[in-house]
């Protein structure tokens, strides 16, 4: 008898989605799908608005990483106002934006690791869900919980100082930034009372990484093999191959490390990336054109970034990067749970970069904006916490936006997340008739590794809990569980 299992909604991720799993007569997994059921329509209603509104309007897609949208839109509009593509800004403009972005990366990664993922690691996939949550972490591992909260707070304060507000600020404007860093803010971030200073943030980032490495040593089999599969990887890298979260050229590698795309100017992204629409999800499926729909899908985010870049331009993170790369002998890492490892290396990198920038005098003085010859088309890419984020705008001569296309980080990870769900479903559910809570959570653990933001990805509103439904071959609901 065929059965269909639905997991709806998925928990401890941002946004709202459901998973359906079809079982055949022998109760083996036949087909799996991660459905994204929200619809938002930002690409449509930004049309007709004056272009300079886009960075402030479109960031409302998300309350977790609005800065990524804010900056990607601003980067696209830099092109529109003739200020170039990311490296054409004034030193103050670019460095203030970078500080904002590293603050964002730091707080978002801290949120994901401490609040969303640590319950699975500390208590186990099959622990009682009443304990396996952020409150459980706070009760049993107070120090870790406090670090998570304070690291997030530090990043949010950096955003406040650069964007004007912790959430949905206005700092980045076409061609630059609208403010300098104040001396009071600089002093606070560098020499603030413990723990609110950059040295403590670097310490704690290193501490979180040490915690994960220790966990990895004890759970190597789980971390290496859970939902692992080969894939392509795509991200921006700096021209010289360094990890650069704010600006660079597109590079894509396959599972063996062969370069598929390299040194691609993102203004030409349409020549290399295409999006497929499937009827059962509001989230599109992007792929690399020259490899086609079947083979062209790719992963983005921390795992992909550490697979595409050659080195990390900050000393502590570089040291960790070298140890991390040695696990796969320098080859791309295709292990899903290593997303967490890579994410914490990036967290350390973001903290180091913040320290470097905070000591840069350009933040305190200098021209804020620049502009040149007006253009009608602009594309802005950056590496958001969850992966490569594409913003593309077309503007008419009267300054109205006439077209917008957003390919959000999580959208890039659509097929990989589906692949992960499929693998976990096979290994946990093949031949089983009863759905257990740990089975459902295993599916969610795989999705969670990508730190998906489903609200952003469908350009949706609300939170994202997960529910599982089991149907027989006649589409009759025979079991249903909600997390």
């Amino acid at each position: 008898m065929n059965k269909k299992i639905t997991i709806e909604p998925v928990t401890r991720v941002e946004g709202h989605g459901k998973v359906t799993i079809h079982l055949d007569d022998q109760n083996n997994v036949d087909q799996t799908r991660l459905h994204i059921v929200e619809f938002r329509g930002f690409e449509r209603f930004v049309q007709g608005r004056p272009y300079w509104e886009a960075p402030v309007l479109v960031q409302r897609l998300c309350g977790i990483c609005p800065v990524s949208h804010h900056l990607a839109a601003a980067k696209a509009l830099d092109v529109i106002v003739g200020a170039g593509t990311g490296d054409g800004l004034t030193p103050t403009g670019e460095k203030m934006r970078r500080l904002m972005h590293y603050g964002q990366m730091f707080q978002s990664h801290a949120l994901h690791f401490f609040h969303l993922v640590s319950p699975d690691l500390l208590f186990g996939i099959d622990a009682d869900p009443a304990i396996r949550n952020v409150i459980g972490v706070a009760m049993k591992h107070k120090d870790l919980a406090v670090q998570g909260v304070m690291m997030r707070k530090y990043g949010q304060e950096v955003i406040r100082a650069t964007a004007g507000k912790k959430i949905h600020g206005t700092g980045a404007i076409p061609g630059g930034i609208n403010k300098h860093l104040t001396p009071d803010d600089k002093e606070f971030f560098i020499n603030g009372p413990d723990p609110m200073n950059i040295d403590k943030m670097i310490d704690w980032s290193q501490g979180a990484l040490d915690f994960l490495k220790d966990y990895y040593k004890k759970n190597t089999d789980f971390i290496d093999n859970f939902a692992q599969f080969p894939s392509n990887h795509l991200s921006l890298v700096r021209k010289d191959g360094a990890l650069d979260l704010y600006h660079g050229v597109i590079r894509a590698v396959d599972a063996e490390g062969n370069r598929i795309l390299d040194d691609v100017d993102y203004q030409d992204y349409e020549n290399h990336i295409e999006e497929e629409v499937r009827s059962w999800s509001y989230m599109k499926f992007p792929y690399i054109k020259k490899l086609g729909k079947e083979k062209g899908w790719y992963r983005v985010g921390p795992l992909a970034r550490l697979n595409t870049c050659d080195f990390i331009p900050s000393p502590l993170a570089q040291k960790e990067f070298e140890a991390y790369k040695s696990l796969t002998n320098g080859k791309p890492n295709n292990m899903c749970m290593h997303y967490h490892y890579a994410r914490l290396i990036e967290t350390l990198h973001a903290a180091e970069m913040m320290k470097e920038l905070l000591n840069d005098p350009d933040l305190m003085e200098g021209e804020l904006t620049t502009k040149g010859s007006r253009q009608n088309r602009g594309v802005g890419l950056l590496e958001a916490p969850r992966g490569t984020l594409f913003h593309h705008y077309e503007v008419n001569d009267s300054d109205e936006i006439v077209k917008a296309n957003l390919i959000v980080s999580t959208t890039n990870n659509n097929e990989p997340m589906n692949q992960s769900v499929n693998r976990v479903a096979h290994s946990w559910m093949d031949g089983k008739t009863e759905i257990t809570e740990p089975m459902m959570n295993a599916v969610e653990v795989a999705i969670r590794a990508y730190d998906p933001c489903l609200s952003c990805a469908t350009h949706a509103l609300g939170k994202m809990p997960l529910e599982v439904k089991l149907y027989d071959a006649h589409k009759t609901l025979i079991d249903r569980k909600r997390t």
Binding site: P50, V56, A163, G164, K165, T170, I173, K179, D399, E400
Partner: protein, 234 residues
């Protein structure tokens, strides 16, 4: 020297020059009466009704009513403040005022009044009118969705020969401001800036200016509208 006119606002003794309106005299005496369509040195329109006060039991617009000797004006009283909130709410529902993405946010007088009078959510249904923005001018972007029809632009944005760059068009629900594209074709940067400043909301925007003022430096970021008017009444 003409003799000053003695009157009271909420029981406090005030003095006015002959011919002064209640609103002008209140400002001179350091009393805040909220307004939206009023502009200093411009003929008042009395169109927004936010400045309604009560005199001898009757509602009167403070921006158009001259002070009379012995007048007893009621201003900051629950009855009037409640009416003011309801006017603000009606203005919100009759347009598409999306503060989060509006570059006038923090400098917008309608938003500032909503905060001052603690408007939570409008009690009236949103009308969601569809009004096309006018982006045809090189320096100005007109978003009619945010217009509150106060006529400040019509009365105050003028060229060197005193001709208004703006006018009303249509009637009733269709009433809208319209920019005279011929007159405004060569509008100066200064006048375009001034037009944006004159508009109490985000309806008239100077192109390419958006969001240059950081949060924290905007007019109403740190103090409520009207709080700069210090009482001089003993």
């Amino acid at each position: 020297m003409s003799e000053k006119i003695k009157f009271t606002i909420d029981g406090k003794e005030c003095y006015a020059e002959p011919g002064q309106t209640i609103l002008e005299a209140a400002l001179d005496n350091g009393v805040y009466i909220p307004s939206l369509c009023y502009l200093k040195d411009v003929i008042p329109a009395g169109s927004c009704r936010i400045c309604n006060v009560k005199v001898a039991g009757r509602f009167m617009t403070a921006c158009t009513t001259p002070v009379a000797m012995g007048m007893e004006v009621e201003n900051d009283i629950p009855e009037l403040n409640e009416l003011r909130v309801s006017i603000i709410e009606m203005l919100f529902v009759s347009g598409n005022h999306f503060c989060p993405a509006c570059e006038k946010s923090g400098n917008c007088e309608l938003q500032a009044l909503a905060y001052k009078y603690t408007m939570m959510v409008p009690r009236y249904p949103y009308l969601f009118p569809e009004k096309k923005p006018d982006s045809g001018n090189k320096k100005l972007f007109i978003d009619r969705n945010r217009c509150i029809l106060c006529k400040r632009c019509i009365r105050a944005v003028k060229d060197e020969q005193g001709r208004s760059l703006f006018a009303f068009k249509n009637r009733g629900n269709e009433l809208a401001i319209s920019l005279d594209h011929e007159l405004a074709e060569n509008i100066s940067d200064e006048l375009a800036e001034e037009a944006m400043e004159i508009c109490p909301v985000g309806s008239i925007l100077k192109k390419e200016k958006g969001f240059q003022q950081p949060i924290g430096h905007r007019k109403f970021d740190k103090q409520a509208i009207g709080s700069d008017i210090k009482s001089v009444i003993k």
